[in-house]
Amino acid sequence: MMSEDITTPDTTGETGPDTTASSQATVTQPAAQRSANLLRSGVGRNLGLVVALVVLCIVGVITAGDTFATGANVLTILRLAAVIGVVSVGMTFVITGGGIDLSVGAMVALASVWATTLATQQLAADYHWILMVSTALAVGAACGLVNGLLIAYGKIVPFIATLAMLAAARGLAEIISDRKTQIITVNSFVDFFGGSLIGVPVLVWIFLLVAAAGWVVLNRTTFGRRTFAVGGNAEAARLAGIKVQRHTVALYVVAGLCCGIAAVMLMARTTTGSSTHGQLYELDAIAAVVIGGTLLSGGRGTIVGTVIGVLIFTTLNNVFTLNNLSISAQSVAKGAIIVVAVLLQQRLAARTTSS
């Protein structure tokens, strides 16, 4: 997208986007300084977002202190964030790799429906709920695979390929479920995923795990490094010997898998599978990813930013609900707050890097 191009040059004349604090670091720096740099660069890049989140929390405390700052409310926010958060982690991979996935919501719906058909539930009741989970994951991954193949080998623009998947997967979900909401009767499934571990809901644990795994894979593995390369310059990646097509397929499978996980979480939360699940998740997820600082044109991505982005949106919803704003005013306020948060993020990021 353009913004990147016109963002920097005109007034400041900068073209390099990634001049974080670490640029001064040399190879011989001591470990302490290196980790200080790491911290500084991590915070620096996301400082604005963190500040936006903190401001939002402060507003929450001031306007609805007694309920906002309670443990239960924090868990409510986290539970809400968990489902869309997992989807957004997958989306971060796809976007960092230079693609986009509009079919996430539809994949969540299809996976939830498929995993809650009578047949699957019967099997799960007879053997183990793990069968339902694997069905959801398999459906998600398979949809992702189709996306990936269409894009990498069929050479269809990601936007169109995943738009087609959106239509097809939701239609299929409707056909399978006959547009009825399928209720989960496998209690062991609901009990496990609806439960808590050390006071933290299992759903939140899953979100944390997925986010942590996503961070490690994106920043500490060859797979992640290649994702940046493919998204940053696919031709250069190809000439550097990276299997670009295969990697692209893998990225969409990751996104599909995340949708499968999200479907399981949503099934647990609602005790249902339905073709209407996950509506507009594509917009929510892309918004969280982009506000988090991942470049829509690929080549730059951050899981931490995505997680903060998701938290900003969910906290916003929570604060709105607590404060009983008029619904239409909520929309207007949301738009304004998004703009302010991004502007804040830019100003603060510019300050930390130039100092």
Partner: protein, 500 residues
């Protein structure tokens, strides 16, 4: 002669880097003023300050004795300053004519007058000796040299008093360079001033009037006579040391050394046909030819980035599957492509990540990367290539052009290749680093790597390779030992039968 342009005390800081630290430059009308300096010395930055693309942090600019503020490219253009930038700044999907007149399209009531633009573009291209470039073709589909010509045409399309040329000759072959010089002389005769940047000192001698030398963002000498100042002195001013600008001695390739790369009857219709050669372990094969003779295409086809229509490529006797980069990589072939920005670099990524991207497996265990090992390996190479600034954590985008080229090269030096295909490895690289690169290439060969080298500088091809293949219009017209042939013979071979 009065000074047309005076820049004094120009300072430009980027986060963490002081690119310009008090630079002075004065240019007279009708002269060719050469700007010399090592990679990263600040030449391009100075140019971008002059054309309004960057805002200086301090310093003054006078045009015709008047102080001016150049706070946007538009402001500079309006004052008659035009530029050919080092990184070609063209719009790939627009046509040649559209690119030439971008920003000042011939138009009436906002409607572009395509015919007028085409006619005028053709005129300008003709003046540059390139009437053959089709004005309605998308610029992105032209080879690098063609794009460079379009970039020059664009600068000429403005009625400029001062034209800045940042390494315009880097992708041009000797004939085209003399073409360019003819154009420059025409300009200066009309009183236009030219600021000329190049790392090729012999060009400075041919075309330049006066020289300003930059070092580490500051002017170290100005007003030197371009013809009289001894080369040694120039190099000393630039680098602070004296460098013998010669090619390192050849190592003899044993005739028993195994043949590593065999290319046989390789053909891609419209690009090249029937190309065949072999390279032994430790041998350097040079490909000479004019721009557009198909050298890059041959390399890319050998590498599998393009699929050959017919013919075969064997490495260690095993045929590679055509059109598969993977197959080539697996067999130990590496390609350093010619267009660093579009084909090689991940501009937003740190230097070390760019260097290690082809060798990730080496720094990983179970898929997990060891960043420290990566950094150290990259830093070692950065040091031996004299990368400036030496840190490996900067995004590559912020490096100067020559230093970006060094990063590309470092990537392939890091990899243990059986066959290394080098396309214009020294493009835009300064004299100091150039001799380091020559030495490195020789060392690689000495270690048994088979190397194919493409360069537009005939001297470089001859000086570095053991054997040369001369290409003309996609066909090999000569194959033989490098020592048995000289520059003039090569030029005769490549030009023979050409219309010019």
């Amino acid at each position: 002669m009065t000074d047309l342009l005076t820049m004094t005390g120009i300072v430009k800081e980027f986060p963490g880097v002081r690119a310009l630290d008090g630079v002075d430059l004065d240019v007279r009308a009708g002269e060719v003023h050469c700007l010399l300096g090592q990679n990263g010395a600040g030449k391009s930055t100075l140019i971008r300050v002059l054309t309004g693309a960057h805002q200086p942090d301090a310093g003054t600019i006078h045009l015709n004795g008047e102080p001016v503020q150049l706070n946007s490219p538009t402001a500079a253009i309006q004052r008659g300053i035009a530029a050919i930038y080092q990184e070609l700044d063209l719009v790939p999907d627009l046509t040649v004519a559209e690119n030439i007149f971008l920003g000042h399209e011939p138009a009436r009531f906002g409607f572009s007058r395509t015919h007028e633009a085409t006619a005028r573009a053709r005129e300008i291209l003709q003046g540059l000796g390139h009437a053959e470039i089709p004005t309605h073709r998308a610029v992105g589909s032209l080879p690098a040299a063609g794009q460079q010509v379009v970039s020059m045409a664009r600068a000429l399309s403005r009625d400029a008093r001062l034209i800045v040329m940042d390494e315009p000759s880097a992708v041009l072959d000797p004939e085209e360079v003399s073409n360019l010089f003819r154009v420059i002389r025409g300009l200066t005769e009309r009183g236009v001033a030219v600021v000329y940047i190049s790392h090729r000192l012999e060009e400075i001698r041919q075309i330049g009037n006066r020289v300003t030398v930059l070092k580490d963002g500051a002017t170290v000498a100005t007003g030197l006579d371009a013809r009289e100042t001894p080369t040694k002195e120039l190099i000393r001013l630039m680098t602070g040391r004296s460098i013998e600008y010669v090619f390192p001695p050849r190592n003899e390739v044993a005739s028993t050394a195994p043949v590593v790369l065999e290319v046989d009857e390789l053909t891609r219709p419209g690009e090249f046909a029937g190309i065949g050669f072999t390279v032994r372990a430790g041998e350097i094969l040079g490909l000479a030819g004019l721009v557009g003779s198909g050298r890059s295409e041959v390399l890319e086809t050998v590498y599998g980035a393009r699929r050959a229509a017919s013919g075969s490529v064997r490495v260690d006797g095993v045929a590679l599957r055509p059109g598969r980069v993977q197959a080539a990589v697996k067999a130990g072939v590496g390609l350093a492509p010619e267009e660093r920005k579009s084909q090689a670099l991940l501009l937003d990524q740190a230097v070390y990540k760019n260097i290690t991207v082809s060798t990730l497996q080496r720094f990983a265990s179970g898929g997990f990367l060891n960043n420290r090992a990566e950094r150290e390996a990259a830093a070692g190479l950065a040091k031996s290539l004299d990368l400036r600034p030496p840190g490996v954590d900067h995004p590559v985008r912020n490096l100067s052009g020559g230093n970006q080229q060094k990063v590309v090269l470092a990537r392939w030096l890091l990899r243990d290749c059986r066959v290394l295909l080098l396309d214009e490895p020294t493009r835009g690289v300064d004299v100091g680093a150039r001799s380091e690169i020559y030495a490195l290439i020789r060392t690689l060969a000495a270690n048994g790597v088979a190397i194919v080298l493409v360069s537009s500088e005939v001297e470089e091809v001859l000086g570095l390779s053991d054997r040369v293949v001369v290409l003309r219009e996609g066909r090999a017209v000569h194959t033989g030992p490098a020592q048995a042939i000289d520059e003039h013979q090569v030029l005769d071979l490549v030009m023979e039968g050409s219309a010019v």
